[in-house]
Amino acid sequence: MNTREHFIPGRHRMLRSTLIATAATLALTSATASDLSAQYTGGSDPVHELPLAWNRWLDHEELGERMELMEETWPEFLTFGSLGESYGGRELWVMTINNPATGPEDEKAAMYIEANVHGNEIQGAEVALYTIWYLMENYDEIDNIRQLVDERVFYIVPTVNPDGRDYFLDEAGSGARTGHVPVDSDGDGLVDEDPPNDLNGNGVIEQIRKYVPGEGNVRPSAKDPRIMEPVPPGQTGDWVILGREGIDDDGDGRVNEDPLGGYDPNRNWGSDWQPDYIQGGSMHYPFELPEARAVNAFLMSHDNIAGVQSFHNSGGMILRGPGAAWQGTYPESDIRVYDELGENGERMLPYYDYLVIWRGLYTVHGGFTDWTNDGIGAVSFSNELWNGGQYFNSPLLQEQQEDPDSPISGDASEYFFDDFLEFGDQYVEWAPFDHPEYGAVEMGGWKKFRGRIPPRFMAMELFHRNMAFTLYHADQMPLMTMGETSVESLGGGVSRVRIEITNERLIPTITARAAENKVVRPDLLTLDGDVEIITAGWVTDLYGGDPVERIEQEELDRIIIRNGHPGRTTRTIEYLVRGSGPVTVTYDAEKGGSASATVQVP
């Protein structure tokens, strides 16, 4: 354990904090922006203001250090802060991206991006970090990026499970999906008392196999003896797999039955939450976990959040809710929005499918994106960031994988990739071990990075493509503008005022589900001026017989629009007013900003 200087929110405040730090992190974190800039001496490509490497996995402290560096580099746009603390006392870092010159944060639609709710699903944090970096480096280089940063706000939280992340990266990391709130997994009144153990001290939790001639149920594969395959029915093998490396720590006769934590932090959210026997790992009530509670407090206090993106890591999917079939389907108008975003996402993300969670993945009750869709009213996606097809990513190779005799088909493909492209880095050979309970055994198998996390050399493409999808999503958040205005005097001191109101982008100011659930403040259409409003209505037909849908509300100077303004739509409001002078009409949407127009009534 080292006591180290440790960053906390607020640019110039420092806090002493005790963290476990590896030698590797110590070596890297001494670099500063100026050191790195010195590497760049010319050439035609723009020089990065903050040259960061994107080919290694960062633990929680390193993430914080890089965010601090970014804030120092781009202080005009970036505010580095924290949503709160994890169970283990780690800050839930958040970076706010806002250009104050184009308006305060809460008056612009915001995109919330988070990752790593499952501790082992680490690479989303780097996508999040890359997103901040890319937006800032290219603000002055690419017009579309400048416009996006000027129009929108981003809240970016690289890891919402820093305890699990650090356990995965800095320790043996087996079973890092959970958070670290202690749970009695085996019902004996004790918590987390029998985890896996790194018995041989090599930093890897391996598999244990035992040689039991004629009594086993697995055998080494003829294709590659490293593969342990089940024996065919009716035969016996010489080996049994005894599970993960560990001992019976609490002497109850079971091995590894009560590990660290033991729940699913992505089942502790407030929509369709179900008790543990229906949804394993949900804990006792929604937002019981300190991390979920802190994130939700942030979401509920930022009404401008219109888009949400969460990053997971396995399968290659662009997922949306509902998480369970019994929740029914989303309203049709919401599905249209999701489909357009998701289908374009499929075009941006090769190997990814756009899927409904319960139908395409599996049933999830109380998941994060269900809550942000149903309870926050934000259009929400969850991406599964790595697809096994990407290991052999050409049609030719994938055709070859169909051939059972090919060295890249079936389980053998994993060994081939590791042997030839990672130089065997991810595999631990079986080796004898004298186990205190099992006697003579062998231990070996894959290391933790294998399978769900991209090889480092393939990571940056994953970061960029997924970022591009979230930026597209952010760009399609509602954006309210006022269009043409007209004033027509009808005589007798009465005038007809018409104003076009437009939402330029795909997503409505209030989704149909948010309107049903009453979780977003209605849009407000207000009129300020020294006039009396006789009637107000929506213009439905500029040329036909029933020109206006009358608005039957008591306060016509403060019209409530509960289901918001649809995407890519212009509506025209008409007021009949008595009086004269300037009249200002303002459309205010929590998730779409506000827009005003002023007309002169004669």
Partner: protein
């Protein structure tokens, strides 16, 4: 402190208004504001060795949520004993609940010398949370009182961007918020011929015409066309828990367990897994009328007139919902109804239980019988449908026998041929008056500045959920007795017998028999089904390598019935003469025990 005096005076005035002693006895009201309740609880804790008082947290307005732990400090640590949890006054207007909770504590400390009380306090622990909603309860002592059920979280009830902007007003200055009936040929309501004070829905099919519309007393403060649609508060704490939670309903909170008080309660029960039974005082009932043979609760009975006054609010959320009024749409609408790739089966998922498991019904009936026998309560005047209620969480997710009662009763309505045909609010009114309450404020004329000539009157706030003060002392005593009976029913697991046999060569058979001396099983059947109650563990204290055969080193019993039910275990072990072997039993809801045997 001047505030303190003011508070007392206001409380005294309010309680006199609430006081409805039929006999006219001069007596202190049993209904206590926060300060008086706190002082009573402190006095009880100070005077007793078996009562500890602490705060579980604070309400929105900063009032403590008190917890009393009652148990004899000699003996096993309190949190290792089987426990009963009592929670009261979740609904702000249900003041009698907190008084009964207070009187239970008093009963236990006053009777600590009696054998049944001392047995309970030596082998069990009783947790009492007398007032989960102190802010809502305090509103019942304000200068102007409505039947304030929710807490005081500031909340935009009508989702119009303004918070708590249109509460009721005491127009006629009687200190009470009641109803306004407005003569209105378009209204839906008429007087009930059974009792003309009571309003009923006019039934056009039998020739009745509506004569009145009904509203809560007050003005349309924000000018939105609705009267009193967004008053102070809040969240109904007994609709804020996880079973059958009424999602997105305005008084249920933004999400389950959203409130400081509900969270404090949840964190307490999670941390105290020794709680083996729950009793709440609230506005539903499963004690006077236990679940039926299908495991379902009786249909609710509520004041219809309150519902009539709430009915106009249903239109709020229709106002401002607009159809397709676009003058131009920029893109062609598309709809993709199916997904490519995988396609899982819909509807195959397991659903949570919503009825009491049939194996648990007998226990509910037995507890109900005991409750009625001890308290004499045979009928409750009103009770509501539990949705998100804490007692439902207690059974359906925490897995223990869990009960609720309004805590008082009225005479059972007559049935049979001679019985008067009175139903609805008229029947409730009659039963309340027969019980000695003065539950109704007669209609009196009032010139409303907007609505014109109206009449103000209706049920007195709180009168349909609280008994007349004179009845409370006896109810406190009998509920104390019932609590002791309930504690006595908790599972109580012991090691009944052990035996050792030597087979020579260092091989021994060790046998143990456990027994549940309590009445309840170690888990409800639903506790097993929902995996919310740990199996009872029976463990032999030898290294796993010394186990030769027999039962698992750590054996698990899902559910051991009570009333002396037994289960036996046998291990064949390797050991040495003279070696001591420990046998341990742990029942999450039934205590733990250890026996040591010596190998011969």
């Amino acid at each position: 402190m001047p505030n303190r005096i003011c508070g007392h005076l206001a409380a005294a005035v309010a309680v006199m208004a609430l006081s409805f002693p039929a006999s006219g006895h001069a007596q202190a009201s049993p209904y206590l504001n926060f300060e008086d309740l706190s002082s009573e609880l402190n006095d009880l804790a100070d005077a007793s060795d078996v009562v500890e008082l602490r705060s579980l947290g604070q309400s929105h307005e900063g009032r403590d949520i008190w917890l009393l732990e009652v148990g004899d400090p000699d003996g096993a640590p309190l949190d290792e004993r089987p426990g009963v949890l009592v929670v009261a006054n979740l609904e702000g207007d249900h003041l009698v609940g907190s008084t009964l909770a207070l009187e239970m504590v008093r009963y236990l400390s006053d009777n600590v010398a009696s054998s049944d009380v001392s047995r309970a306090l030596q082998s069990q622990v009783i947790y009492i949370i007398p007032r989960l909603n102190p802010d809502g309860a305090e509103a019942m002592f304000a200068d102007v009182r409505s039947g304030h059920r929710r807490n005081l979280r500031p909340q935009d009830d009508d989702n119009d961007g303004r918070v708590d902007e249109d509460g009721p007003e005491d127009l006629n200055g009687d200190g009470l918020i009641t109803l306004m009936r407005v003569p209105d040929p378009a209204g839906d309501y008429t007087t009930d011929p059974d009792d003309p004070r009571v309003m009923k829905l006019a039934d056009a099919a039998v020739g009745e015409a509506g004569e009145y519309s009904l509203h809560w007393e007050g003005m349309d403060d924000d000018g939105d066309g609705f009267i009193n649609e967004d008053g102070p508060g809040g969240v109904d704490l007994n609709r804020n828990f996880q079973h059958a939670y009424p999602y997105w309903e305005v008084d249920a909170g933004p999400f389950m367990v959203s409130e400081p008080a509900s969270r404090a309660l949840m964190d307490f029960v999670i941390a105290n897994e020794n709680i083996g039974a729950i009793l709440t005082f609230g506005l539903s009932d499963n004690l006077v009328t236990p679940p039926d043979s299908d495991g379902e609760l009786a249909d609710p009975v509520m004041l219809a007139m309150d519902g009539f006054a709430d009915a106009p609010y249903e239109e709020i959320f229709e106002t401002g919902m607009f159809g397709n009024v676009a003058t131009f749409e920029y893109y062609e609408q598309r709809f993709r109804g199916t997904q490519p790739g995988r396609d899982n089966e819909p509807g195959s998922g397991r659903r949570p239980a919503v009825t009491i498991n049939e194996d648990d019904l007998e226990y509910y009936s037995a507890v109900s019988d005991a409750y009625k026998e001890i308290t004499g309560i045979e009928h409750v005047p009103v009770h509501r449908e539990p949705e998100g209620a804490f007692f439902q969480y207690g059974y359906f997710q925490y897995g223990v026998p869990s009960f609720t009662t309004p805590g008082w009763g009225v005479a059972e309505p007559q049935t049979g041929e001679d019985a008067p045909e009175v139903d609805g609010d008229a029947a409730i009114l009659a039963s309340l008056e027969a019980a000695g309450s003065q539950p109704f404020i007669s209609w009196s004329a009032y010139e409303h500045p907007v609505l014109g000539r109206v009449e103000i009157g209706g049920f007195r706030p709180g009168a349909n959920v609280n008994p007349p003060p004179a009845a409370v002392a006896e109810l406190g005593r009998t509920h104390g007795q019932f609590l002791v009976r309930l504690a006595d029913m908790l599972p109580d697991v012991q090691i009944a017998a052990t035996d050792v046999t030597s087979h020579g060569g260092g091989i021994y058979t060790v046998e143990a028999t456990i027994v549940n001396e309590g009445y309840f099983p170690t888990s409800t059947r639903h506790g097993v089904v929902s995996e919310s109650v740990d199996p009872t563990i029976v463990q032999i204290g030898v290294p796993p390598a010394d186990l030769v055969s027999g039962d698992d080193k750590t054996s698990r019993v899902e559910r051991l019935e009570g009333s002396g039910s037994r289960d036996s275990f046998l291990w064949v072990i390797r050991g040495e003469p003279g070696q001591e072997v420990q046998i341990r039993v742990r029942a999450q809801k039934g205590g733990s025990a250890v026996e040591t045997v010596r190998l011969p």
